[in-house]
């Protein structure tokens, strides 16, 4: 279909948006002074900031395009994948999150080295990088699919332009830039998605004697109003296949293995703030996000039924979002909503690129580097690595473009790359008996059995739940169940026939030791005595080591002792922890209401003169 859409005003709005976000990212780049800042934002942010930036990461540009397509075809069941993440939240919040936070692992592969050995780390690195770079390629493809219709630039040229634009603000920023641009873009995403819904309802109201919502509801069939798809039909969109591909492999993959998401949680100022972000996100933000990404398809279906001929004839699946937006919005507003699609891409891609370069620096460069390099050099390497990651992603775009739809490309991707990692990390955290030879076998033998499943779909048939086998395509989503079973089977069987790891080696690395982790993190027994937060003024003074000094009275109010951990932040809560530091209580002094900090702490915390700080005892 020849779908040329948008006006010059729309094109202008999109360009202005890109420039604005790049400027925003570059501004917050000043907060990235070390690799810790670059990758983890200095572990300082409040839960609400983490939540909104997770929204922007979770909603990729592929989300708008692929969910609109399925929403147009199948109705409300397009929301399935956004509403099935709660099952693994207990294990994430109270198992995985404290482990990664308190063991201070820089990346998921680093966990594999601690829990198993270096070989396991390299295998995990390879698989996670494949997963993330492929994910970035899908993001580039999706946004390009939308933009090349608007600007009339060839698809691959659009891909390259987008890759360069995202590089510019990422290159100078790092995690703090990512978090703050994602905060901005998260709001834009939600606002524009809901705006599109309202515009769609208005459009329906204008073309009917009834109200917009009533027209919308009446022009969907009962089947389109169901929140879950048919159990096992059709093969390209059925409940049970998508449940195993997304609800199980995808949810665990996203929560436990998405380095980008994990880095968000590691940027939280404490484990409890990370828990709040996770719970709030899944409970409230995901259902809203489901409406945001799907509503163009629902509105499109209602328009197709209520106003025949309003949408272009022969519209392709991937074009639903752009076509519906074009019909219901006016010039300028269309550009703004497409800019939100850009926001979705940029915020997801920047997170994944940042995460990929974190993995390359932490898990490839650092372990293999013959001479020790300083933090500044590593930061430089991280920045250039992010460019390399994008180049590879651009090269991969044509492969993903060969799938029938972006939804299927993404589904294949999840069900193929996540199962070995899901099994390895899950058994690693929750089963002490899982051994090093078993994790290696899970990666290698599991992958071999998975490849066999791709070539001989009859191996997958026993798991198919009655889903029809498409002779030329095999099983799309339910392949995830076969992959999980073979990888899990290999892992369990090899574990039972090999020597268990010593308790000392796995100490602090499984859910069984979560209670010990806080003590290991602090280096002494945590102080859980209830105290209050205090607001004090700061002055730069000569302090001994990485400590801060409070008065004896203030320490009593906080119920703190020398050696306890403290979090000091600018008292303006809306900053979300941007200006803050973690430190240790030093010797108390006699000046009540004053905290002594060092020059270095002032530089890291970026505290403002005449603005007070709030101190909170951590443990």
């Amino acid at each position: 279909m020849d779908l040329a859409v948008g006006t010059n005003l729309d094109r202008f709005v999109i360009i202005v948006y890109f420039v604005m976000v790049m400027g925003f990212g570059a501004y917050f780049g000043k907060y990235s002074k070390t690799t810790s800042d670059y990758f983890f934002g200095g572990r300082r942010f409040s839960w609400w900031l983490i939540t909104i930036s997770i929204v922007a990461t979770g909603i990729g540009s592929h989300s708008f395009v692929k969910y609109s397509t399925k929403a147009y075809q199948y109705g409300f069941s397009s929301t399935m994948t956004y509403m099935n993440d709660w099952f693994f939240l207990p294990l994430f919040m109270f198992g995985w999150l404290p482990i990664i936070y308190y063991t201070r692992v820089g990346s998921i592969p680093e966990y594999f080295e601690k829990r198993f050995n270096r070989k396991a780390r390299f295998l995990a690195t390879f698989m996670i990088l494949l997963y993330m770079i492929g994910y970035i390629a899908i993001q580039f493809l999706t946004l390009s699919t939308a933009l090349y219709r608007i600007y009339g630039i060839p698809l691959m040229a659009t891909v390259v332009i987008i890759a360069v634009a995202t590089t510019l603000y990422m290159h100078f920023g790092g995690q703090t830039s990512v978090i703050f641009t994602d905060l901005f873009q998260g709001f834009i995403l939600i606002f524009s998605g809901l705006l599109l819904f309202i515009l769609g309802l208005n459009y329906l109201a204008d073309h009917s004697a009834l109200g917009g919502l009533q027209t919308f509801w009446q022009n969907l069939t009962p089947a389109q109003k169901l929140p879950l798809a048919h159990f096992n039909r059709p093969p390209d969109f059925n409940f049970v296949g998508i449940f195993w591909q997304d609800g199980i492999a995808g949810s665990v993959g996203f929560l436990f293995l998405n380095q980008g998401l994990i880095m968000r949680f590691m940027a939280a100022r404490s484990v409890n703030e990370g828990r709040k972000a996770a719970a709030f996100n899944v409970l409230l933000v995901l259902p809203i996000s489901a409406i945001v990404v799907s509503n163009a398809g629902w509105i499109g279906r209602a328009i197709a039924n209520a106003v025949p001929g309003a949408l272009p004839a022969g519209m392709e699946g991937n074009d639903v979002f752009v076509a519906v937006t074009n019909v219901v919005s006016s010039p300028g507003v269309f550009g703004f909503i497409i800019a939100a699609l850009c926001a979705a891409l940029m915020s997801t891609a920047d997170t994944l690129v940042n995460a990929s370069s974190a993995i390359i620096v932490n898990d490839v460069y650092r372990p293999l580097a013959k001479k020790k390099t300083n933090d500044k050099e590593q930061l430089k390497i991280a920045r250039f690595t992010s460019i390399g990651v994008k180049v590879i992603a651009v090269i991969l775009v044509p492969f993903f473009n060969s799938f029938d739809s972006i939804y299927e490309a993404h589904g294949w991707f999840h069900s193929t790359f996540t199962p070995p990692l899901v099994v390895a990390v899950f058994l690693g955290i929750f089963w002490k008996r899982f051994t090093t030879p078993a994790v290696i076998a899970t990666f290698l033998m599991g992958a071999a059995l998975m490849i066999m499943g791709q070539f001989f779909p009859q191996l997958v048939s026993p798991f198919s739940h009655g889903i029809e086998l498409r002779p030329d395509r095999g099983y799309s989503y339910i392949g995830a169940l076969y992959n999980l079973v073979v990888c899990g089977g290999v892992g369990v069987i090899v574990s039972l026939f090999t020597q268990p790891e010593s308790s000392e080696k796995v100490k602090g690395l499984t859910v069984f030791d979560v209670q010990l982790l806080r003590e290991m993190f602090k280096g002494s027994k945590p102080n859980d005595k209830q105290g209050e937060n205090v607001e004090v003024s700061w002055i730069v003074n000569k302090v001994q080591g990485d400590v801060v000094n409070f008065s004896k009275q203030d320490m009593d109010r906080m119920a703190a002792n020398k050696g306890d951990l403290v979090y000091v932040s600018d008292s303006r809560k809306w900053l979300g922890g941007l200006k803050s530091i973690h430190s240790v209580y030093g010797e108390p002094h006699e000046e009540e209401g004053i905290v002594y900090i060092s020059e270095e702490q002032l530089a890291n915390g970026q505290f403002v003169e005449d603005k007070s700080v709030t101190a909170e005892k951590e443990m």
């Binding site: 509403m83 207990p90 009962p222 159990f231 449940f243 609800g247």
Partner: protein, 71 residues
């Protein structure tokens, strides 16, 4: 007419199989004391976790009933 495999079977499968994953997870974090009921803040989290499961199950059930009601 919407048949069972279009309406309640996916719901039962989702909260049956997903429910097993949820219950196993809850048992594991409670038994290992990763979620320690002696800590006040953890007791609140325990309620939030159960509430979330119920919230999603109710949401899905309500939409199925609404769809059935409109058929």
């Amino acid at each position: 007419m919407l048949d069972f495999s279009r309406t309640w079977l996916p719901f039962l499968y989702l909260y049956g199989v997903g429910g097993i994953a949820f219950i196993v997870g809850m048992m594991l974090i409670l038994r290992t004391k990763a979620l320690n009921k002696e800590i006040a803040r953890h007791r609140i989290w325990l309620k939030v976790l159960y509430f979330g499961f119920g919230f999603y199950a109710t949401l899905h059930a309500v939409f199925i009933l609404l769809a059935l009601g409109s058929s």
